[in-house]
């Protein structure tokens, strides 16, 4: 197939870097998409291979290939873990720019706007990546700029902002998984919502014997960014008799989407609600975990569980 470099003018500069990726696959474990689907073709290495294939003309710029490049939450865990120093998300963004110019836009994880959008422009102002704008007809998203952080979804009062391909990170999905855990484990007490930076993966892709998980007291659910936490999501586990809910987000100044600040406000507001109905507000706890600090994360969970055990169930 003929070399396509001329058509990929943004991606072209990464030709040498794409060779430097030794394709070890150590990025798999850090990717929430790979965790969710289990397909190698959803892992970061797959996007690097796709970028190489597009650039070299070994694969056609198809909708399927574009969908892979546009499916990324930009948590950048893969990038931080890459010992070959490959700036994965910068490469993805440049590939996206070229694909957009060819008329291929995903959707991937790009946020979209439903027709019932009220055009209040809240999402335009809130988008930390300047990806949302009014195009004269309605609210549109620049797919090359969108980093799928989900802040637009959180601020949209009409529920019109959506990420359709959410890879298990949508609010409804998380609520359902929390509910399943709480209703199927007699020992269950808490749900931990963690952003992808505060959580360090334990089991990468394997399933423990049922006997090992029967006595689990808590479940960790990755919601990508603290900015995607909503009061409704944090409250939902209590409908299934959770004793408490913890949310783990990045420390101040370290969240690339400023989602931790939004999470703080929501938890503060919930504390006030809990106080007003005479429930101990400490049943909802927010912790800030520096990137990959597995020890602190576990210590915070242990402390929280100790507190819940002292408080007992909500009566």
């Amino acid at each position: 197939m003929e070399n396509k470099i001329k058509e990929f003018k943004h991606l072209e500069k990464w030709q040498g870097t794409l060779a430097n990726c030794i394709r070890c696959g150590y990025c798999f474990e850090h990717c929430p998409m790979f965790h969710h689907t289990g397909w190698e073709s959803d892992a970061p290495r797959a996007k690097i291979i796709t970028a190489f294939g597009l650039l070299e003309g070994e694969i056609e710029p198809s909708e399927a290939a574009a969908d892979k490049m546009f499916s990324c939450f930009y948590c950048k865990r893969c990038e931080a873990a890459c010992s070959s120093g490959v700036p994965l998300t910068e490469i993805f963004t440049d590939a996206k720019k070229d694909l957009v110019e060819m008329g291929l836009k995903g959707p991937g994880t790009t946020s979209i706007t439903e027709l019932y959008c009220a055009r209040c422009l809240l999402c335009v102002g809130a988008c930390p990546h300047e990806a949302r704008f009014y195009d004269g007809k309605g609210i549109a998203t620049d797919p090359a700029k969108c980093q799928a952080c989900g802040i637009c979804i959180e601020v949209c009062p009409a529920g019109a902002a959506k990420i359709e391909n959410h890879f298990g990170t949508a609010k409804d999905d998380l609520i359902e998984r929390a509910s399943t855990f709480l209703t199927t484990h007699e020992s269950s007490k808490a749900i931990i919502f963690a952003c992808n930076w505060s959580y360090y993966p334990e089991l990468q892709a394997s399933v423990l014997p049922e006997s090992e998980t029967r006595e689990k007291a808590y479940e960790i659910l990755v919601n990508m960014c603290g900015g995607r936490l909503e009061a409704h999501l944090l409250m939902a586990p209590f409908l299934h008799n959770a004793w408490g809910v913890m949310a783990a987000v990045c420390p101040d100044g370290e969240c690339q989407h400023d989602g931790n600040l939004r999470a703080k406000k929501i938890v503060e507001s919930l504390h006030n609600t809990f106080k007003s109905i005479d429930i101990n507000p400490e049943r909802v706890r927010l912790v800030q975990i520096p990137a990959g600090d597995k020890t602190l994360f576990q210590a915070e969970i242990d402390t929280f569980m100790d507190k819940l055990n002292k408080m007992g169930p909500i009566r």
């Binding site: 430097n20 030794i22 070890c24 798999f28 289990g38 796709t50 010992s83 990468q204 394997s206």
Partner: protein, 477 residues
């Protein structure tokens, strides 16, 4: 290319477990090697019965089937050189049983090595083969390659840990091999034969593995050497002394520079370092082993020898060693680290000469090669760092590899210690095993009469690895 009946395959595994779009096929056409070839379909079974049905269909239609785990193979073992079905085993990922009383566990092939060790850790035991890629490598892939790693010097390779397995044969039949016991005297020990067969004899759908207690004490030492040969000779002396290291690793100046650059490891930039470790349940016994190895290093001009029980210090060096392969790509921004001629083994007494030979051959061919590895178990790794766009660099790499393997065989060594043969190493493998190739071909025929299981690998691979498949790099003509 044969037409695949995707409807039939969908009926077996469900539509959500099959992919045929060229964008997906392209991704599954490569692994961590230099090779690339397009499969015809990706099929992801979830049960043994599904694997049996897929194999029956493939055998009836004579369609190649390549089983795939994490895709971290370095010689092209999972690159579908003749097309066919990639059997992605990652969904068969259940740890079925942890039997502490009988000291074994049963797992499905898609279980990730580190995941298994996380599950075992709470019981104070571990599964020891641990290749550097253990965070991604699956047990099935490790069995296929007889994987080993830094701890193999004391605890052995995958073959030593496999007690038994269930295998789906080429025609779809299911057989149980081995047992749940430590010893088995009779018969051909077919489960051991499957280990290292690179998916050419059957599809492993369940494995019974032994594990060992996590030692109470671990102490790691680092010795610096100004002369690479001295470090190599120290390895031979340590192993000949009767010492029992739990890790004995060599890193040359290229490897040291790469890990320091990538991970800020703070190793001294000398000609070579030896990293040695001893473990055990009694501290005095560990001290004894460490002191013994320290003295041998001193005798061979090792300097600034430091040993520590501190888990953080040990973990930092251990992680640095595990990430050495990707780190080598940062040695020089213009050079890529390629997985070529990367895991030969030589007798201990030849370790020093082997390390020197690698550098000598690299200089002669105007490329950069590094010498490192689990030298305590006889394994010497190298990687070729080169400008992959330049065709002349590939020509040089080919010459260098031939020269390296000629030396390895001349001293009684072997082509692959732990990464397997796949496509990249077939040329040397076939020379090394020339008088038993017919015997191996007979075994292959008995297991897989239609030659559908990972065809074109091991002895069936083309002689010239450069033209065997498309290279996954862009090479200027």
């Amino acid at each position: 290319m044969k037409k695949i009946d995707t409807t039939k395959l969908k009926n077996i595994v469900g539509g959500h477990n099959i992919k045929t779009d060229p964008a997906d096929l392209y991704i599954y056409g490569s692994d961590s090697s230099v090779h690339h070839a397009m499969p015809w379909a990706i099929v992801r079974p979830e049960t043994t019965l599904q694997v049996q049905k897929i194999m029956k269909y493939a055998n009836d239609q004579i369609i190649p089937v390549v089983a795939r785990g994490g895709g971290s193979g370095m010689c092209g073992q999972t690159v579908p050189i003749q097309g066919g079905i990639i059997l992605d085993m990652k969904k068969m990922n259940r740890i079925l049983e942890i039997n502490l009383e009988d000291v074994y566990c049963r797992v499905e092939p898609g279980v990730v090595d580190d995941d298994l060790n996380l599950a075992l850790k709470q019981y104070g035991v571990f599964y020891p083969p641990t290749p550097a890629s253990s965070r991604i490598a699956t047990i099935g892939g490790e069995i296929a390659n007889n994987a080993s790693g830094v701890r193999s010097v004391k605890y052995g390779a995958t073959r030593d840990a496999v007690l038994g397995m269930k295998v789906v044969m080429a025609n779809g039949d299911l057989v149980s091999l081995g047992a749940h016991t430590r010893v088995e005297a009779s018969g051909y020990q077919l489960h051991k034969l499957l280990v290292g067969s690179e998916g050419t004899l059957g599809i492993v759908v369940e494995a019974t593995l032994s594990f060992v207690p996590i030692p109470e004490f671990r102490c790691m030492g680092v010795a610096n050497f100004d002369v690479l040969k001295d470090a190599g000779e120290a390895i031979g002396s340590i192993m000949a002394s009767g010492a029992t290291p739990s890790m004995l690793e060599l890193m040359d100046s290229v490897a040291i520079k790469a890990v320091n650059k990538t991970m800020d490891l703070g190793l001294k930039e000398v000609a070579a370092v030896l990293i040695f470790e001893a473990d055990g349940m009694v501290k005095e016994a560990v001290d004894y082993e460490i002191n013994k190895m320290k003295k041998i290093c001193e005798k061979h001009n090792g300097q600034d020898i430091h040993a520590s029980y501190d888990p953080k210090e040990r973990a930092k060096i251990f992680l640095g060693r595990k990430k050495l392969f990707p780190a080598l790509s940062k040695y020089d921004d213009n050079l890529a680290s390629t997985a070529l001629a990367d895991d030969m083994a030589v007798p201990y007494s030849k370790m020093a000469e082997m390390a020197g030979k690698i550098h000598e051959i690299a200089a002669k061919n105007n490329i950069i090669m590094t010498a490192y590895g689990h030298c305590g178990s006889g394994c010497m790794h190298t990687k070729i760092l080169m400008d992959t766009k330049r065709k002349d660099q590939w020509d040089s790499a080919k010459k260098a590899i031939t020269q390296v393997y000629d030396y390895v065989r001349s001293v009684g060594g072997t082509t692959s210690a732990e990464h397997g043969i796949g496509i990249s190493k077939a040329e040397s493998f076939k020379i090394e095993k020339s008088d038993s190739l017919n015997l191996s071909a007979g075994i292959k025929k008995a297991f897989d009469p239609n030659n559908i299981l990972n065809p074109g690998k091991l002895a069936q691979a083309p002689e010239d690895w450069v033209t065997a498949t498309n290279l996954r790099y862009s090479v200027n003509s």
